[in-house]
């Protein structure tokens, strides 16, 4: 909310500059986000008197004006059509002046005529929004030619932008912030009486006699009587839904003349972000900004049946609001109606038909208290957030109704020249329940960690406007003021004590923490360990959004049975991912488009699958994508292939679990290459898959070349880690190993892993390892065959092997190779 420092000082003067006021209220919870000085940047703009006014010799639409700026007479060319007659005063920017928009004024020729300066509009000086014509001083205003504009128009001010939290509706007006400043600076804030109207009349004949009324006169500082009261119909107010509208007040101003507001009012509204419209409307806005209490003005001539009815809408009922939009209501929307039809959406926006217009003579001012929840629901349902709904949904001060009505009626009458009915309606359909709260200073001290005395607590509570019901050293019973709906229980009062004293006045301490015996959950540790291992293995961590498009899932050929958002920002992010593939390969594809030679990425994140329960199943997965080329030392570079994927998985799993995974044929997801992918197992338990992405899928995902992709199921790995436990030390071998090689020619369809496994089995436990050390195709090797050479390491843990033993076993390996794999031993 924008706040005028000047206005605050008028309401509650304190001896502090704007920076200090801003600092104090910020620390107390009214966060000042920015401070803008006003009226300081208009040097060389002065009041000038028009001395002569002639048509421009060459241009029809320009006027040649001779002005007196207090020192010299100067000729200026002016494009506006409202140049006053000689004797009128205008705002004149002398040559050399720099306007707020950065424009530098210099003497120059316009249409062949020398123009020395510029006659300015409000908008050009950023003191108003009117850009239509030049600013003309009111004839009765005092400033003489040569007076600087900032002084002449009294422009100096600071505008604070205060970010208010939703618990402080009391500060949505200047009065509330002034009251807060009073509390913080220890100055008693005293609400002043509103200026009384020049004319007032007794309203017996106007408001229906059976209605509860209030006398406004005591709320004004003066009031004059009017002998001949206007003749007006008798008006009644009926509240059908007292829970939605606990209080409704109405005052009447008769015989106003709708006209533009005086400059001071327009300027204040302009600085506070509102557009000046007409005196009556501007007055309602000024009251809103002053009291934080929205009011609404109806044109009495357009209220049919002399009646105001506050009721819930009928289903499908319609009305056009002030913004010209026809709205349809539900039975949960509260309306203000006349004898026949809705005339306003309660607390949100007025109706078009009864709005204040130029011909308006008699204004009925509404000032009410509406149920905050009701207003919020309607405002959200209609998508209509207004200055009014913003305040009502946070909770205005119900007890302020008479004072606000008196102020509003007085101001409207002052500006519009009307007469005010001294009696106003004040209908309380559901009285406010006063609540009392107990505050134990000892509890405050215990919670804050610093001593709090009953005396200090009392002083602060009183300054905030609480009524003290009971007071003692052990406890204070207080009734919070009507403008503080946020004060509900003891802890709220403790916060007030802390806040007014200042959080900075509370010392710091170090707590005694009881660490748990279980420590970090295992799954979190596993994720962290996997992440570190993946980085160590050369991968870069990606973080993608949890949501993707259905199209992404479809292209990736992963499950489209996804958790769907009801209100996505776009179709691009409408469903929760069922796989990490779209996100990770998306990043890889972008890297390829940037011309990166390699993208080696991983992500550990959750996927979401509908579960049948309220909440979906969230599964944590580690995904890896390798795209591009593995760099050789100098020059050499080969495209990543499946074996890179296998290698990186081995590096990660070996680091985390001390075990190397197996990669075995098995079922892989549809997006994987059917012939170049396999299942990853650890200790014979499936934990994921690795391979190339299916070429068709890779095309759909706009990937270039063969992209390697792998996934590991983190929960499965964690379960396995729990089962396996920590590594256990093994005795070192006592007896030497013997290595023998076996080379063979075999057909392609026999896999190296299969052969190695069979050889190991055939060794009857003597082969400690069988590893492939050479693979050769082409040359002498017949088509469809390859030459494989294995190195077998034999060891007997209990004795030294003899050559004879080894020869025998090695021969049996060769026999297995020949018999089972049709191998030719070379």
């Amino acid at each position: 909310m924008l706040v005028s420092y000047r206005w605050l000082q008028e309401l509650c003067p304190v001896e502090a500059d704007v920076a200090e006021v801003a600092r104090r209220i910020s620390l107390a919870g009214l966060e000042v986000e920015s401070i803008e000085e006003k009226g300081h940047n208009l040097a060389d703009v002065v009041v000038a008197e028009v001395r002569a006014k002639n048509p421009h010799p060459k241009r029809d639409n320009l006027t040649l004006v001779r002005v007196f700026d207090g020192e010299d007479e100067l000729d200026v060319v002016c494009g506006a059509s409202n140049v006053p007659e000689p004797g009128g005063r205008v705002l004149f920017a002398r040559p050399g002046a720099v306007l707020p928009n950065g424009m530098e004024i210099a003497a120059r020729k316009v249409g062949g005529v020398e123009s020395s300066g510029m006659i300015c509009s409000e908008a050009e000086l950023a003191i108003g929004s009117d850009a239509e014509g030049i600013f003309v001083m009111a004839p009765d205003s005092e400033p003489l030619p040569g007076a600087p504009v900032a002084e002449a128009l009294d422009l100096h001010d600071f505008i604070l932008d205060v970010g208010l939290t939703p618990n402080r509706p009391d500060c949505l007006g200047h009065v509330g912030i002034a009251r807060e400043i009073g509390v913080l600076f220890g100055v008693a804030y005293r609400p002043r009486k509103a200026a009384g109207p020049r004319k007032a009349f007794t309203a017996e004949a106007v408001f229906e006699t059976s209605q509860p009324t209030i006398e406004l006169a005591p709320l004004w500082d003066s009031v004059a009587d009017l002998d001949d009261p206007p003749t007006l119909p008798e008006i009644s107010v009926e509240i059908e839904n007292g829970d939605r509208c606990p209080r409704y007040g109405a005052a009447l101003v008769s015989g106003v003349r709708v006209a533009p507001s005086p400059f001071w009012l327009r300027y204040r509204l302009h600085n506070l972000g509102l557009r000046a419209l007409s005196n009556v409307v501007d007055a309602t806005n000024l009251i809103l900004l002053e009291w934080g209490h929205p009011i609404h003005g109806f044109d009495l001539d357009h209220l049919r049946g002399s009646k105001v009815v506050v009721r819930l809408a009928k289903d499908g009922e319609r009305m056009s609001t002030l913004d010209g939009v026809e709205r349809t209501f539900s039975t949960d929307d509260l309306l203000i109606c006349d004898g026949e039809r809705p005339v306003a959406v309660a607390g949100v926006m007025g109706g078009l038909d009864s709005e204040i217009r130029e011909e308006t003579k008699d204004v009925l001012i509404e000032c009410a208290y509406f149920d905050p929840r009701s207003i919020r629901r309607t405002s959200r349902r209609l998508g209509l957030h207004t200055d009014s709904s913003h305040r009502f949904e946070r909770g205005v001060d119900p007890e302020a109704v008479p004072q606000v009505l008196a102020s509003a009626a007085g101001l409207i009458a002052e500006l519009g020249g009307g007469a005010v009915a001294t009696t106003a309606i004040d209908r309380i359909a559901s009285p406010r329940e006063a609540r009392t709260i107990r505050l134990r200073p000892s509890r405050a001290a215990q919670l804050l960690g610093t001593p709090v005395s009953a005396e200090e607590s009392l002083r602060i509570l009183k300054s905030l406007g609480c009524s003290i019901v009971e007071q003692g050293d052990a406890e204070i019973i207080a009734e919070p003021p009507s403008w503080r709906p946020d004060l509900q229980r003891e802890v709220d009062l403790i916060e007030e004590v802390a806040r007014v004293r200042g959080y900075d006045e509370i010392p710091t301490a170090v707590p005694r923490v009881h660490p748990s015996e279980t420590g970090t959950p295992g799954l979190v540790k596993t994720v962290d360990a996997l992440r570190d291992a993946a980085v160590t293995a050369g991968l870069y961590e990606a973080i993608n959004y949890g949501f993707v498009s259905t199209e992404d899932l479809r292209k990736a050929r992963v499950s489209t049975d996804a958790v769907r958002l009801a209100n996505p920002l776009s179709e691009e992010r409408a469903v929760m991912r069922t796989s990490l593939l779209p996100g990770l390969t998306g990043a890889a594809a972008r890297a390829q488009r940037h011309g990166a030679s390699a993208a080696t990425l991983f992500e550990i994140a959750r996927t979401f699958e509908p579960s049948g329960d309220a909440l979906p199943c969230e599964r944590t997965t580690l995904a890896i994508a390798l795209a591009g080329q593995r760099r050789g030392w100098i020059g050499g570079a080969d495209p990543f292939d499946v074996y890179d994927g296998k290698g990186v998985l081995a590096a990660i799993l070996d680091r985390v679990f001390g075990r190397v995974p197996e990669v075995v044929p098995g079922e892989v997801p549809a997006f994987m290459h059917p012939k170049r992918s396999a299942v990853v197992t650890l200790e014979s338990r499936p934990v994921g898959f690795v391979g190339e992405i299916h070429p068709d899928v890779a095309d759909d995902l706009e990937l270039i070349g063969r992209v390697v992709y792998a996934e590991l199921d983190v929960a499965a790995l964690y379960g396995l880690a729990e089962e396996l436990g920590p590594p256990q030390a093994q005795g070192l071998p006592k007896f030497p190993a013997v290595t023998r090689d076996i080379a063979m020619l075999v057909r392609e369809e026999y896999s190296a892993g299969e052969i190695a496994g069979a050889l190991a089995t055939a060794s009857k436990g003597l082969a400690e390892s069988v590893s492939l050390f050479d693979l050769y195709r082409g040359g002498q090797i017949p088509e469809g065959h390859r030459s494989l050479a294995f190195r077998v390491t034999y060891r007997d843990p209990e004795a030294t092997l003899t050559d004879k033993q080894v020869d025998k076993v090695h021969a049996s390996l060769a026999k297995v190779a020949r018999d089972r794999f049709e191998a030719t031993i070379r």
Partner: protein, 362 residues
Amino acid sequence: MAEPDAVQTFEDGLNEIRGAYGDALRGAKDEPELRLINGRYVGPQGELTKLLKLMPKLPADRRRELGQAANALKQEIQATFDAALHAIHRGAREAELTGPALDITLPGRWQMPGRLHPITRIRNEVLEIFLSLGFDIADGPEVELYENCFDKLGFPPDHPATDEHDTFFIQGNRSQDPESVLLRTQTSTIQIREMLKRQPPLAIVSPGAVYRRDDDATHSPMFFQLEGFLVDQDVTFAELKGVLTLFLRRLFDEHISVRFRASYFPFVEPGGEVDMSCVFCRAWEGDRGRTAACRVCKGTGWMEILGCGMIHPVVFENVGYDPEKYTGFAFGMGLDRIAMLKYGIPNIKLLYENDVRFLSQF
């Protein structure tokens, strides 16, 4: 009498080899050549080997004496060979040590590690501090019940406090029904889950992804928060201040100033926001000119960094704790924002684009 001849031949042979061996070796340039020459004398077909094959033909009475002479020669040859080999090695080493240097500018050759995402990196930094203070990590689901995200945390129904939490609902759920399913808007849900599961004392931090319907220059619809809370008997606001001041000083700089401002979050009371000295203009160093010109703190020297407060008694009531018996504090921070501050990341969107050129910087 063939015997004297055989003896003569043998003796001559030995003498000849003795005379020729040293000279032959001197011609060798390197180790292979040296070994080749050596082989001509002591290899399987070498001259000395051949000579030794004549031994059986020697008269028995001379055999022992001549055998010793041959052995002596063998040892002499070995010694000469060792000396020559050593000289060659030495020469090569001298040449290496005094000759031209290796081209050390050729690229190194090893598997380089990758990098953690900056959010993970900052998460780890933050966690390390809280773990050292005795906090534990906890985790919770990203898809949550309305109840856990709002009601139990004390958000009143139809209240503007939820305005900052523009929520993604799961299809079929778009109301304030406690059973409604949504994407969590804050990691504070973990407070509720942990408190429902466990009894005090509790000291927990929980990092994680959260979601809000904001997508503009400064907001990302998914971002990361880290929530922490401590519940025990007699936990105080002073301790909240102590922990967060310590945390921020460890994370940023031991010299920064920290200030607490009153603020509002439904689940804490008293509630506050924490500002620290601006880290861009290093406001704690007191260079007023630099701070005045700082666009990040707009000349104030302060930047907002955390939200915090004492856990609201309504939260304790909602999880079945006695608010008269227990007190606690809670705090929350945006990991994205802290990563951006600490690593000078200009735009939040960079965090989720996964551009390899960006990821490789951390």
